[in-house]
């Protein structure tokens, strides 16, 4: 079976570095895409969302990234993200609390657009984390 080399990197964490993988699903700003061996070169912005990768001969691994980029070049795929969390590491209760808090902040009046957007993103991230975290349990 064909494989490609996969790295998933964050500034404070190296999840994978040049490991052989058979498939990768990431969420770009335009939607979810799957990368298989032989994919055309691609540079994309990643939205907060899930990723799934399948290392050669192993079970698929699911996780969440907050934001970042994906770079597909010939047969090497690199994901650079701000933060990476694997599904089993997600604390669903904490995500729930974060969602609640951010939602409360959103209902408060009189914030500028930027802060509003910030809390919106927070809610979005919290929801995604709950979804992914809930699935794996």
């Amino acid at each position: 079976m064909d494989t490609f080399s996969l790295s998933i990197l964050a500034p404070e964490r190296r999840l994978l570095q040049n490991e052989r993988a058979t498939s990768l699903v990431v969420t770009t700003v335009d939607g979810e895409i799957e990368i298989l061996p032989g994919h055309a070169n691609l540079v994309g912005i990643l939205a907060p969302g899930r990723f799934v990768y399948q290392a050669e001969g192993q079970k698929a691994v699911t996780g969440v990234i907050s934001s970042g980029f994906v770079n597909v070049e010939e047969e090497s795929v690199k994901v650079v993200a701000e933060t990476i969390e694997l599904a089993q590491e997600i604390d669903v209760n904490r995500a729930k609390a974060a969602q609640k808090k951010a939602e409360e902040m959103l209902t408060a009046a009189g914030m500028d657009e930027q802060t509003f957007r910030k809390y919106q993103l927070k809610v979005q991230r919290a929801i995604i984390r709950q979804q992914i975290g809930g699935v794996s349990i």
Binding site: S7, L9, A10, P11, E12, R13, R14, Q17, T28, V29, D30, I33, A40, N41, L42, V43, G44, I45, F69, N71, E73, E74, K78, V80, E82
Partner: protein, 292 residues
């Protein structure tokens, strides 16, 4: 000449100092190792961001320079919160002073962001600073700190209040040597890597798909690149600080050892002298009795 009692006191006090410096050296060594690990673990990430930058800047997603910005420079000064690390902070202070003097001579104003107590406290007393932001270096550098710092700098840059951003910090070479650096991080220099790119490479990059499109990616990437550079500088500074403190404390321990040796010699000499003196007195006493 100091009395025997005084000498004894001094020896024990130097011994105490030596123990402190020894302990500090050990702590710094452990922290240094951890700081080095962090540098190593962020390197692939930083490398990848830099590579993406070169791909995109070679692709005509070029720099949108802010032309009507005020002729003001922003300087980020990275020093430590604590002393006892030899020339670490003074070299930062010197470099920052030079930078400010140079810019002022060229007719530019300088705004400052300080990270770390030492440089801030000294420079504040020495000259009038146009301070934008000050924060402590903190016990450990996390990526979030770099993100927040860069946000502050970018905000000024995008508003056109400053037209360049530089950072002065100690670059980590190895445990005993740190090199002071003043790097300009904004506006971005046209990437040299992109310019020297071969034809084949160029073609590959032209065939690359972009999602959503080049300029959006470039805009997002540019900010990330900026954060990464600040993060890198902070990490280098962190490692340098521990390295500098480690070697300073090692020297201090050695010096204390030398001093103890000298003092002990002096102490023994004096002790011997007093014994000899007493003996002489006794002998002289018994001699005089004999003759009597």
């Amino acid at each position: 000449m100091a009395s025997i009692k005084d000498l004894k006191k001094r020896i024990s006090s130097v011994k105490n100092t030596q123990q402190t410096t020894k302990a500090m050296k050990m702590v710094s060594a452990a922290k240094l190792r951890r700081a080095q690990e962090t540098i190593l673990s962020q390197r692939p990430y930083a490398g990848e961001i830099a590579k993406l930058m070169s791909i995109l800047s070679g692709q005509g997603a070029s720099e949108d320079t802010i032309t009507n910005a005020a002729p003001v420079s922003l300087l980020i000064v990275v020093s430590s919160d604590r002393g006892l690390c030899a020339g670490y902070n003074s070299s930062v202070i010197k470099a920052a002073t030079n930078y400010i003097a140079e810019k002022t001579a060229a007719g530019k104003a300088v705004k400052c962001i300080f990270v770390g107590k030492k440089a801030y406290e000294i420079l504040r007393g020495r000259m009038k600073l146009d301070l934008v932001h000050y924060e402590e270096f903190g016990p450990k550098i996390v990526f979030k700190k770099a993100t927040e710092l860069s946000k502050k700098a970018l905000e000024l840059y995008e508003k056109g209040e400053v037209n360049e951003v530089s950072i002065v910090f100690n670059e980590f070479q190895n445990a005993i040597s740190q090199v002071i650096r003043t790097d300009r991080i904004l506006p971005l220099e046209a990437s040299a890597a992109a310019a020297s790119e071969g034809e084949a490479q160029k073609l590959i990059h032209e065939l690359t798909l972009y999602e959503p499109d080049k300029s959006t990616i470039y805009a997002a990437l540019k900010n990330k690149y900026f954060v990464v550079q600040i993060f890198k500088a902070l990490l280098e500074a962190q490692a340098s600080e521990h390295g500098a403190r480690m070697s300073a404390m090692e020297n201090a321990t050695k010096n204390a050892g030398d001093m103890i040796k000298k003092l002990t010699l002096l102490y023994n000499k004096q002790r011997q002298a007093s014994i000899t003196k007493e003996l002489l007195e006794i002998i002289a006493g018994s001699e005089s009795q004999k003759t009597a």
